[in-house]
Symmetry: C2
Subunit: 364 residues, 2 copies
Amino acid sequence: MKKNKPEWAPEEQDDKFTSTVMEGVSKPQNMSKKIHKRKELSLQQYVDGIISCDYVVLSKAITLIESNNPNHISLAQEILQKIIPNTGNSIRIGITGPPGAGKSTFIESLGLFLCRNGLKVAVLAIDPSSTVSKGSILGDKTRMELLSREENAFIRPSPSGGTLGGVAKKTRESIMVCEAAGYDVILIETIGVGQSEVTVRSMVDFFLLLLLPGSGDELQGIKKGVVELADLIVVNKADSNYLERAKITQVSYNSALRLLAPATEGWSTKALTCSALNHQGIEAVWSAINEFMIFVKESNILQKRRSEQMLFWINSMLEESILLKFYSNESIQQQKKNLESEVLVGRITATNAVKKLLNTYFGE
Amino acid sequence: MKKNKPEWAPEEQDDKFTSTVMEGVSKPQNMSKKIHKRKELSLQQYVDGIISCDYVVLSKAITLIESNNPNHISLAQEILQKIIPNTGNSIRIGITGPPGAGKSTFIESLGLFLCRNGLKVAVLAIDPSSTVSKGSILGDKTRMELLSREENAFIRPSPSGGTLGGVAKKTRESIMVCEAAGYDVILIETIGVGQSEVTVRSMVDFFLLLLLPGSGDELQGIKKGVVELADLIVVNKADSNYLERAKITQVSYNSALRLLAPATEGWSTKALTCSALNHQGIEAVWSAINEFMIFVKESNILQKRRSEQMLFWINSMLEESILLKFYSNESIQQQKKNLESEVLVGRITATNAVKKLLNTYFGE
């Protein structure tokens, strides 16, 4: 019966521990092939498992990447180091939109379309506020039920907690692992609020904004500047009663987009409509993405953008660490709070407040 | 004849030095009243001069603010400290637009309108790239000739060089000095490219985007996201042949703006037309600004925004100093360049490169 004991049961007390584990619903072919228990995998096992797209090893590798344990971080870096040559061959697509635009339904519909066209699709999520919205993780998995049953689809809930920089690092490294596993398209969904759109834009080739049919009143859910980050706008829910409204919204955005600077130089961002629920208009979305990828490859924008993104990422990580060290200094925290109050009531100038803080920190 | 010698002539060699200075065009009343030679002013003289709006002292104070000499910085801070109670009472307006939109003509026309309505107007410029575009400083002064002759107008060319943070600091402190001198409206013009629009947005109450009539093709000169920073769009050059095109542009922007998130919550950004050259439509611009100011005062958005801007500024200054110290470290510079190349060719992961740099810097 040892085989059926839950993994948290003590190994020695074989018969004193009575709980057993029911066998779960069987996984699709490639997932059930290998069963990895809690035993530690070697570096080579990780690398081989990732490259052969072993679903379980892939999941474990991402869990390792998401861990903040120093040993895990160091092993994860060894794995990433080994798989670098196998990365970079996917189309990285960021998807954002206000709550209610139907992001999950859209991603599922696009994902199913791609799988049925012989492509392998990975879905990652980025959510800097996941401590608040933890419910959405389960929600996503449930909503993408059809896609999660596809053999060529890999869906990963968003990494939990931490700073935006930390979450972004995990997502970027998960992209690498998925690429090494041979996924052709990586869909990165933004969840939550804040600066996540800008962060996702900085790690993808193509950025898609999903909207609802309407007059723009519902745009309160979108942050300033997001429209101008998009390479494609898709008005979802273009079905039954909303069809006409969706078409009007599409026309309005197509006019508006002509007045805005494009997110990718030389590319004209356009608006399309679709009904993710009825799987309509998805092919046109994919055509637009393909057209974009041809354009950025031929113009060398893709390579330039990816290099810039890499350097930007290095600087972001450096700056986050350096500033975190400063802001987490206890005497700085207290003094900063006091000085800020004094600046706000006009007792001291901002420049002098900054000078005092820097003197405290650098000990001049 | 000593009186007419140029200021760079040696004082002693009275008669050996033959150059003289012609008397210039006489300045308007209040400017010619006091003549301050090169002698140093005391703290109190600065403060009194600023508060009584002595044009010459005001200019000297801003020169002091713009200096990077440690003694000047410390005196400037003492002055600013003293004038804090006299600051905060102006309407701070940021003005941006693509090259050719006629920013200087517009500022002159708006400035003249305000002066003729009994308001005191200061014009400052922010130009992080001023080493490149130094010509524009003289250009501005020349183009705003009419305004510069107004008694109630003060025009200051952009501070030269340095980091964007440094230029922003100078501009923010110059705003304080102008407010203490009783200027009712401060117009801050963006010059050059880069992040200056975002920086100006972070120091003003109201942000105005000046555009040309047209189909949007000329928008290449505007950076992404700038439209979504604006509280008002003004289509300039709505005169003679361009009148109709300007009206069409206005209508297009009014449609587009309904689809974008507003720069100021609760405020609907609209598009107007004007002809700065013919001084037409300027009153409507001013009405819109007034309406906005009433809205943000009554809703308490103004006070909240100014406090947030102050805290943002403190953090910006802190972060710039801390990161500058890191990036200007010579061993970091060399190592960073090498590691970045290695990351780009895939010899090392970004995370490991960052770890190495942090170890070098913090000596772990």
